[in-house]
């Protein structure tokens, strides 16, 4: 497209830009499908233990900070809105504005991870980290510990996805500003990154009530 550009607008294996875009979109969705299977395993484990120990899970859930969990959810939901707006800007060729929106998205993601680490440290202080130091003053400590195993493992894997997302979104923000890359390629790249980010948000949308609101308060 641009004479000195080293990045072609349409890669060699595709007939045209539209086919490339369709392939890329399908590709990222196949990846998201594999991620659904990954988290699905964790969700399935939670479901089994919750069905077997409903009262235990409700009691254990009360030990989590629901207000902090709600704030974390709000942060991610807002970050998704910023990401969607960034993608929209890139569609209108406003790559500078797109980069700004993606930068805010990444910052909100980092805030989410920070809030979560703060939360885990608090849980550990209360002796709720599974393992040798686990301490539970209520009934049925073993199934309760299972709740916390599921909580820490699932939220840790999710936070890992958010952290990776922060790096990817930040990189996408920089790519958005690279004029050597043809506009359509930049726009598509932002779309694919956006899909990953929204998926990570959707996973948390389910995690939040599963762990923080398992029993009525």
């Amino acid at each position: 497209m641009t004479p000195s550009s080293s990045v072609p607008c349409v890669a060699e294996q595709f007939d045209d830009l539209e086919q490339q875009h369709r392939a890329g979109t399908f590709g990222i969705w196949v990846f998201l499908a594999s991620e659904m299977m990954f988290f699905g395993g964790l969700f399935g484990s939670y479901l089994v233990y919750r069905v077997l120990h409903p009262a235990v899970f409700a009691a254990a859930s009360h030990a989590l900070d629901a207000k902090l969990g709600t704030l974390e959810t709000a942060v991610l939901l807002v970050s998704s809105a910023f990401m969607a707006t960034g993608v929209h800007r890139s569609r209108n060729g406003r790559f500078g504005a797109a980069a700004a929106f993606l930068a805010v998205t990444a910052l909100l993601g980092a805030l989410f991870v920070g809030l979560h680490v703060h939360e885990w440290l608090g849980d550990a202080e209360h002796g709720h980290f599974p393992g040798a130091g686990f301490h539970w003053s209520g009934p049925e400590p073993r199934p309760t510990e299972m709740f916390f195993v599921l909580y820490f493992v699932t939220t840790a894997f999710h936070a890992l996805h958010v952290t990776i997302g922060v790096f990817v979104v930040s990189t996408a923000a920089l790519v958005s500003l690279r004029t050597a890359v043809p506009g359509p390629r930049r726009q598509h790249a932002l779309e694919y990154v956006g899909l990953y980010w929204h998926f990570v948000d959707v996973v948390w949308i389910f995690l939040y009530p599963m762990f923080y609101l398992a029993g009525h308060r």
Binding site: G44, V51, A81, Y208, A214
Partner: protein, 94 residues
């Protein structure tokens, strides 16, 4: 100009964002009501499904309903449904 570049897209995003935060408040509020053990779970899950649907439909652009995308997403949901249902039929009958 297609559906994805119309100027009202900004307004749509803001409205969807507001709806998501509203559903979040609803989730938090509903958790403080006693709807019976299963009732709370069902309500929370239903609201979560609503939020996920909004993110999927508007932010992930499922409203474009590309067949390949629906195929990928549908396959995952189908596989997860099989895995979850069969796992539960095992554990619930032990």
């Amino acid at each position: 100009m297609n559906a994805l570049t119309r100027p009202s897209e900004d307004r749509t995003i803001v409205l969807v964002g507001a709806a998501l935060l509203g559903l979040l408040a609803l989730t938090f509020g509903a958790a403080h009501l006693d709807l019976g053990g299963a009732g709370n779970l069902v309500v929370a899950f239903a609201i979560a499904l609503g939020k996920a649907a909004l993110v999927g439909w508007f932010f992930m652009e499922l409203r474009e309903r590309s067949r390949l995308v629906v195929l990928a997403l549908g396959s995952a949901i189908f596989m997860l449904a099989i895995a979850t249902i069969l796992t539960l039929t095992d554990y619930l009958h032990r």
